[in-house]
């Protein structure tokens, strides 16, 4: 249990791009850290501890906690590295929350980063799978997602056209986000006509590879309100893992997000998530997940996700906007991606989301997702939570 309340008081991110040959990893990290400190009006000397993370094998650098010091500002500070695959960024945020909520540190700097252009994504991700059973007969990230989509479509009759509608939404939203990598509207027909990567996932249904970093400053209630008049209070976090092997997954439903949502909403007294949550920044690496996972979260009954998406309810201006930032389909520096969801949700609560601001946000949800179908979730709120 949390010993005290915790808030996000500043965020910063790079202008994400497919390649950043002008900077090395440390220099990329530095850009995000400087922006987060500026946003919080703090100096690096105010920071008590640092949490940093990225994807294993992506840059081929071990002990990133040490290697990143020139960029992170971690000189003579406690630093820890966290890496949990796709959820790395959201796990970093949860770790930062734990650091502060426990009473151990007052101001923690959390950094997620990736230079996805430096390696082979599929080659690196394949190392997450069991070498004896899964690796020889399965590879990379997209295959698992396609299996999920196929299973859901078979159960509930959704189509790749339904998925394309989600992609159209996210790519349109991304045009409002100056930090997103891909800022170009697409039509349903363009999504459906784009190359099929793994049936039913087309090229325009799925996330790109991105170079980028994100940093977030997390502070205790003792100082949060002196740092900013609009702290983003962390109401609850949840994390669920389900299985070791792909063959054990309940394909077509994401059990981890279903269970994490239950915990998150129960902790916070949310019984009508569709009405009480004002915006979601979802780690949604491909389009159909935007239909499946809102059902698993309990926002919409099973099988009704596509209808809800088509109604426009999750578009900007709708009942429950999802991914005002454009989400993961528009931008995916993987080790930063989950933290960007968290930062974007925090910006919504703090009223700092500029051209992508949803009006009057009381509660925002950010999520993280990782390969063998695991989930992180954070509930962000405008008002102070009960302890």
């Amino acid at each position: 249990m949390a010993k005290r309340r915790v808030a996000i008081v500043g965020t910063g991110q790079t202008n994400h791009k497919s390649h950043r040959p002008d900077v090395n990893g440390q220099e990329l990290i530095h850009e995000a850290v400087v922006r987060a400190l500026q946003d919080a009006e703090l100096s690096i000397n105010d920071i008590d501890a640092i949490l940093i993370g990225n994807m294993d094998h992506f840059e081929g650098i071990n002990y990133v906690d040490c290697w990143s010091i020139d960029g992170s500002g971690g000189y003579h500070k406690p630093i820890m590295k966290l890496t949990t695959g796709g959820t790395t960024g959201s796990t970093l945020a949860i770790g930062g929350y734990h650091f502060v909520a426990s009473g151990m540190f007052d101001k923690v700097l959390v950094i997620g980063w990736e230079k996805n252009s430096e390696s082979d994504t599929t080659g690196a991700i394949t190392t997450a799978f069991d070498p004896i059973w899964d690796r020889l007969v399965f590879a990379g990230a997209i295959s698992g997602l396609a299996v999920e989509a196929q299973s859901y479509m078979a159960k509930y009759g959704a189509t790749d056209r339904d998925g394309a509608r989600v992609s159209v939404r996210d790519r349109k939203h991304a045009c409002n986000n100056p930090y997103a990598q891909l800022r170009k509207e697409v039509t349903l027909e363009e999504v459906l006509a784009s190359p099929m990567l793994a049936d039913p996932i087309h090229l325009l249904d799925v996330c790109p590879r991105t170079d980028g970093a994100c940093a977030v400053v997390i502070a205790s209630e003792d100082c949060a309100e002196t740092i900013t008049s609009t702290p983003d209070w962390i109401w609850a976090t949840a994390n669920r893992h389900t299985y070791s092997y792909l063959g054990d997954v309940n394909w077509g439903e994401l059990d981890s997000i279903a269970d994490a949502s239950k915990e998150l909403f129960k902790k916070s007294g949310i019984n009508e998530p569709r009405k009480q949550i004002n915006v979601i920044e979802m780690y949604q690496p491909y389009s159909l997940a935007g239909i499946i996972w809102i059902e698993d979260m309990g926002i919409i009954p099973r099988g009704k996700g596509a209808e809800y998406i088509w109604s426009g309810a999750t578009d900007m201006g709708g009942e429950l906007p999802i991914n005002p930032s454009g989400g993961v389909i528009a931008c995916n520096p993987i080790g930063a991606t989950g933290l960007i969801r968290c930062a974007e949700a925090a910006m919504q609560v703090m009223g700092k989301a500029e051209g992508r601001q949803v009006p009057d946000v009381n509660f925002a949800v950010s999520t993280g997702f990782g390969g063998c179908m695991w989930t992180d979730m954070i509930l962000h709120g405008k008002n102070k939570p009960n302890l």
Binding site: H19, R20, P21, D22, V23, N24, Q26, E27, H30, S43, I44, H57, E59, G60, I69, D70, G71, G73, Y75, K115, S117, E118, S119, D120, G123, A124, T127, P131, I132, R135, L136
Partner: protein, 153 residues
């Protein structure tokens, strides 16, 4: 010794992790390497706050968290801060043993650079000795544009 595998054939799957990489050096390191390759000059970069000159150059001074802003030519001489001699021919070694690795504080810089110490009987290497950069004849834009550092005494 009992046969722990009695009745089964132990199955071992041998493989390796094979991930290709391409690391961007970034603008700061790239400038250093290009000048090293094209002009046989060693550059350091100075922090405007504490005045330290970094060689290898850094975009940000880690102790001040300030961007370095001015290039200074340093070296090619320097002082050996510390060293070690490798006597076993491990697969990762690109030269024949004995190989001497040294930390060289280039004249005009405040930090040290890792490189080979060569043109010397390894038994005569001492901490504090003066060394000088020897440039490779065939130079690419990497740290190997310097072949090694040779003692001056």
């Amino acid at each position: 010794m009992g046969n722990i595998f009695y009745g089964i054939e132990p199955s071992v799957y041998k493989s390796q992790i094979n991930v290709p990489y391409q690391w961007w050096a970034g603008e700061t390191a790239s400038k250093f390497f290009m000048v090293l390759r094209d002009d046989k000059k060693i550059l350091g970069k100075q922090c405007p706050r504490c005045g330290k000159v970094y060689c290898p150059p850094k975009k940000t001074c880690p102790s001040c968290f300030t961007e370095t802003n001015s290039w200074k030519e340093v070296g090619p001489k320097g002082k050996l801060i510390s060293y070690t001699i490798v006597l076993r021919q491990l697969a990762a070694l690109q030269k024949k043993v004995p190989v001497a690795f040294g930390l060289i504080c280039i004249d005009g810089a405040d930090n040290a650079m890792l490189h080979y110490i060569g043109d010397v009987d390894v038994n005569n290497i001492t901490i504090g000795m003066e060394v000088e950069a020897v440039f490779a004849d065939d130079r690419n834009a990497t740290i190997n544009a310097i072949s090694h550092f040779k003692p001056l005494t």
